[in-house]
């Protein structure tokens, strides 16, 4: 072992130059990686050729010929395998996005509740976390799907949750909202309200910094948000046409219908992931020293202000990195869909399409690439956010 300062000496032999040496190592590592990938790609192709198995991505243009129960984008049996890929991707993203939103919200609530001074609330939150964190997700999905949603009554004997909202073994049926002439006006009003609120808050903040006076921006914001669209409603009429579900021959027709497979998957993922997020939120809040809270109280902030203005912003920098991996987990776990017949990417593309074309390498590679890209995009977004909430030293 040489002492570190020796590293700086440049010998006559280039090899003793640490910069050059590390460059050579790096290049070597890259070359080795490329060589390994080339080797795999060539071997795979030669093997497929030898076994007379079709290869390449030409199959993506062929007609799929099978039906899919939930399609967010136009799809028919005449569509191509490429289209199936998009349908599956959309179904996966739907679960991932809705699941993430609810899991983060629920996780924050449970995490804060666990720290609550109320004994019952904090114990309930603790029980929640311990139960849902420690049972394998697949079992939970089976439970929600096979034990809760499937034994529900047939559509004709539906449970009425709300007027025109029905729960049956075919899922949830609810009124659909179809756009009308007033819809765009309504959306414009909403946009105006939101822009107004942003401007107002900027102004209020500036004024507070300058004069120390707080301004009731919250209440005014709420007024704008409700008032403007309401004005449109009175002026031109309802922003959407409401179409309630009606009983057809086999099931409800019309309206919006959520498949029980979708409900079970999303619900299961939310409940499971929220348990982990709750723990992350709790440890994040606990990581903010007590002195901060005391100082906040000392300058006259109340409990909710302390949490909102002092504790959470500091806790976020501890929360965000592990939160990212929970969001990624949720997305990846959504591939368990196949177990309960939800038509996600893995189920219909890496399942049905693979089986029909036999092109395992292409299909699996593409599927893996999609999950990688979704994960990387999420990481990228969260990293960017994290850079903003991380403490900036002044």
């Amino acid at each position: 072992m040489r002492p570190p300062d020796k590293n700086k000496s440049f010998g006559p032999m280039a090899w003793t130059n640490p910069r050059l040496r590390s460059l050579v190592y790096q290049l070597g590592a890259i070359a080795a990686t490329i060589a390994i990938f080339t080797f795999f790609a060539l071997t795979a192709r030669a093997n497929l050729e030898r076994q007379n198995i079709a290869s390449g991505f030409g199959f993506m243009n062929n007609t799929a010929g099978f039906g899919v129960i939930q399609t967010l984008i136009p799809y028919s049996e005449e569509s191509s395998y490429g289209r199936v890929f998009l349908v599956g991707l959309a179904n996966t993203l739907l679960v991932a996005v809705i699941g993430t939103v609810f899991a983060v919200a629920l996780g924050f609530v449970i995490g804060v509740a666990r720290l609550s001074g109320n004994w019952l609330v904090s114990k309930l939150a603790a029980v929640y976390v311990e139960v849902f964190r420690n049972i394998p997700l697949l079992l939970q999905l089976f439970f929600w799907y096979f034990a809760i949603l499937r034994p529900l009554p047939a559509p004709r004997e539906s449970i009425v949750l709300l007027p025109d909202v029905f729960l049956s073994n075919r899922g949830v049926a609810m009124p659909a909202f179809h756009p009308t002439d007033a819809t765009s006006l309504f959306l414009i009003a909403l946009a105006v309200a939101i822009v107004g609120i942003i401007v107002l808050r900027r102004w209020a903040r500036k004024r507070r910094l300058a004069t120390g006076q707080s301004f009731p921006d919250g209440r005014i914001a709420l007024g704008l948000l409700i008032g403007l669209p309401l004005l449109v409603f009175f002026a031109v009429g309802a922003p959407a046409q409401i179409e309630p579900p009606v009983m057809g021959k086999f099931n409800f027709d019309g309206g919006w219908r959520l498949l029980p497979e979708f409900v079970a998957l999303t619900f299961g993922l939310v409940v499971y992931t929220a348990a982990f997020i709750a723990e992350i939120v709790r440890s994040g809040i606990l990581s903010v020293s007590k002195g901060q809270t005391e100082a906040a109280h000392a300058i006259g902030l109340n409990n909710s202000q302390t949490l909102r203005l002092v504790v959470i912003p500091q806790a976020l920098r501890v929360i965000v990195p592990p939160l990212t991996s929970q969001i990624l987990n949720l997305t990846k776990n959504s591939s368990l869909a196949v177990a309960i017949a939800y038509p996600d990417l893995v189920s219909i593309f890496a399942g049905t399409v693979l089986n029909q074309t036999g092109q395992a390498i292409e299909v699996i590679a593409l599927t893996m690439a999609v999950y990688l890209v979704i994960s990387l995009a999420t990481s990228f977004a969260m990293n960017t956010y994290n850079a903003r909430v991380a403490i900036v030293e002044r």
Partner: protein, 367 residues
């Protein structure tokens, strides 16, 4: 993960795809250089030593690996002792008897509809005998060879009697349960599309799940091969509450298949099936094989190896067909034991009767 790592990984992914597509691999040269493999060529040098040697491989291993379904009465079904039975299982036994003279030298690999093809492609099994429909794409682009047809089937629907439905034409708008990775999914799509009807398909990977989904009312109908409907009805909560609709919407010639490119092994499997059918045709049964060896009929003598060297030409012993029939009987005996009128399935011979009895079962002669 920091953003630089993210960028690096994206690079790797793009690189891997680029390599797969754009590299002028040796693959192209291989195809150009190779003439289409004829049976003889495959048997001698063979373009692909590894692929061509299934028979040797099986012999060396001491048993055959046979892919079967995970549980379908009459086709391949394990009992509580883990012993498999059914017509697909009997066919595995027949091939083992042809190769080893011992029908027990088989390991069964239960496979879902979805996993069966990758299992065969990857060499996990030597033979797939799993109520698999012979279709063009499976025979060509998936890289398989079908040895023949062991059961002529067609797809049907089953509904609850209480629904009042008596014809598939009344299924407009219905939700229908089935299994993923089957021709069933495709036929159903064709049928509804062709009749301008609407439907929703709920496809499970496990057959028992699609069946229970139907049984519990998640779906209005369940669809699969007609033979499957007979088998599945037996395990429903209340078999009498269900009605098999009269329509048969597809042709489902079910047969055993092997990897393409090993003509010798394909021949062994194909002629085992033909021997079973020829045996029924010639009246050779499990109980009379030994007697028949001294029969006056040259056809029977060639089948049972007392004349000619037909077994040797396959790379087997001349006794091969006699061993097969001793182990599982002829095709008719196999059928009657597993799915025939006297079994719980009770399926009449129908299309699966011998050609001379008005069915489709016909095998080329051994000569």
């Amino acid at each position: 993960m920091n953003n630089r790592l993210v960028a690096f990984l994206v690079g790797i992914v793009i690189g891997a795809f680029a390599l797969y597509f754009f590299l002028p691999g040796p693959a192209t040269h291989l195809t150009a250089a190779q003439p289409v493999a004829t049976d003889a060529a495959a048997k001698k040098a063979g373009p692909t030593a590894a692929a061509a040697a299934t028979l040797d491989l099986v012999r060396k291993r001491g048993y055959m690996q046979c892919g079967v379904s995970q549980g379908l009465a009459g086709f391949s079904n394990p009992n509580d002792k883990g012993e498999w039975s059914g017509i697909d299982v009997d066919f595995c036994k027949a091939v083992a008897a042809a190769v080893f003279g011992d029908a027990n030298k088989v390991k069964y690999r239960p496979l879902s509809a979805k996993d069966r093809f990758t299992a065969l492609q990857s060499g996990e099994i030597d033979l797939l005998s799993r109520n698999t429909t012979w279709t063009m794409s499976r025979d060509t682009s998936l890289g398989f060879d079908f040895a023949g047809v062991i059961y002529y089937d067609g797809q049907g629907f089953i509904v609850k009697k209480a629904s009042g439905i008596t014809s598939a034409a009344q299924l407009d708008g219905a939700t229908i349960c089935t299994q993923t990775g089957t021709t069933t999914e495709l036929n159903m799509a064709d049928y509804f599309r062709g009749h301008g009807m609407d439907y929703k398909v709920l496809a499970f990977e496990k057959n028992e799940e699609s069946l229970s989904a139907y049984d519990e009312g998640r779906c209005d109908a369940y669809t699969t091969d007609a033979s499957g409907l007979f088998a599945q009805r037996l395990i429903m909560k209340n078999p009498d509450e269900h009605l098999v609709l009269p329509e048969v919407i597809s042709k489902e010639p079910l047969g055993p298949l092997v990897r393409q490119g090993d003509a010798q092994w394909a021949d062994v499997v194909r002629w085992t099936l033909f021997a079973l059918i020829n045996a029924e045709d010639l009246g050779v049964r499990q109980s009379n094989v030994e007697m028949m060896k001294v029969s006056d009929s040259p056809d029977i003598k060639r089948l049972l190896g007392t004349e000619g060297a037909y077994g040797q030409a396959l790379g087997l012993s001349n006794n091969w067909a006699a061993d097969v029939i001793k182990a599982v009987g002829n095709y008719g005996e196999m059928y009657n034991r597993t799915v025939g009128p006297d079994t719980p399935l009770g399926i009449p011979r129908g299309l699966n009767a011998l050609w001379k009895n008005g069915g489709l079962m016909y095998a080329p002669p051994i000569r």
